[in-house]
Point group: C2
Chain length 203, copies 2
DNA sequence: CACTTAATCTTAGCAGTGTCAAGATTTAGG
DNA sequence: CCTAAATCTTGACACTGCTAAGATTAAGTG
């Protein structure tokens, strides 16, 4: 019941959560600090006690959603640990996350928002948690086949590109959806990823 | 020499071209109608004689760039007509377009900008020119193998997703690039698309 | 040609935005 | 208890998209 106290109590968290809920429903385009501040029952300049700039606020929210995304992937990775279908299932989870929350795609990956460094070459530095999970899993799966490291790296990128592209597509508006998009995605991913595991002796 | 005449002469075109050049270099985020107007030597409300709203202006520019993109793809399609590598080459062109102009990716595909309807199911309605070219080419390539239509459609989506995802990736900032990203892309695409053409008897 | 109409452009202004400065209120620590 | 830090408000500035009113020019009609 701290409704009318001068101090909010936990404004920083309230701003982030309100902002994310806003983005989830309306996207980032129409989001303004003033609106979020008002929704939290606070004046227009109050957020500046917690974020130096709007950009900093965006980054905080982005980290929040990125962690949620990574946790969702991690859960799938756990479920299918030691299963041969772990990779396609990870891919499916990757895509479905944005199918269920289309506005998150632009919010996480739109050029101006990407502050988290992505490293492709060095598999030791995981500065992008979702990519890191993909990389780790794919590397262990592909590693069992005896492929040159360079080939493995290319396959990882291909895998990432495929699911990322599917995510971009399912997050688009004005797409004519199939009635059974979810199993469709699964089939598409499998039709690509299965060759990785069966044709070791190709190169 | 119509430097100081009250009427500009060809303001609509000037706005579009100046705006696109701006986006090409700085992205859409910091673009404002007033700035573009000033760059064209015209007052802040002048653009409203040609575009009802900023959104309409964006759409006009988007169509312009989308046509450029489609023309680039079409050129590759012509070059490699009757070649077995037409599909991978088309894919490479798709990716390289955004590798060379990273800001175009968000500009064309960021959720708020997509006004061009994308149709996946019906291969007859081509409302998205670049996708249409991909679809047409892939359909003709895959059609030579005797695959069920549903499988072909999934393969087309997979192909599209792969190159679109690669485009998204190469357009990201903060990516640690390979020294030879271009041939790398080519290899990655080939490693995926070759199976399409060689293992007909799989399904 | 003269005259009317439409198109184009300018100026001035409104509401909304990010941001900052000054000051009020509350909390925390010595 | 009292000072310092943290938090919040009010008020302002510059910038944005956009509109209304009117000035200037071009196009077309008799």
């Amino acid at each position: 019941m701290k409704e009318k106290s001068y101090h909010h109590g936990d404004l920083r968290r309230a701003l982030i959560e309100t902002g994310i809920e806003f983005i989830k429903q309306e996207g980032e385009e129409t989001l303004s600090l003033r609106k979020i501040a008002e929704m939290c029952g606070v004046s227009n300049a109050a957020p500046y006690a917690h974020f130096k700039t709007k950009d900093e606020f965006i980054v905080a929210m982005q980290r929040y959603v990125m962690d949620l995304f990574a946790a969702t992937l991690e859960k799938t990775a756990m479920e299918y640990k030691n299963s041969p279908s772990i990779l396609p299932m990870l891919g499916k989870t990757y895509v479905m996350f944005f199918y269920q929350n289309p506005f998150y795609y632009d919010f996480l990956f739109s050029r101006k928002n990407i502050r988290i460094k992505l490293s492709l070459g060095n598999t030791d530095t995981y500065e992008n948690p979702p990519l890191a999970i993909l990389q780790k899993t794919a590397a262990s799966v592909f590693g069992k086949a005896k492929l040159p490291e360079k080939v493995i790296r290319d396959k990882i990128i291909a895998m990432w590109a495929l699911v990322h592209g599917l995510a971009a597509i399912v997050a688009m508006p004005n797409i004519e959806y199939d009635d059974n998009w979810e199993t469709r995605i699964e089939e598409i991913i499998k039709s690509i990823s299965i060759p990785y595991q069966t044709q070791e002796a190709k190169e």
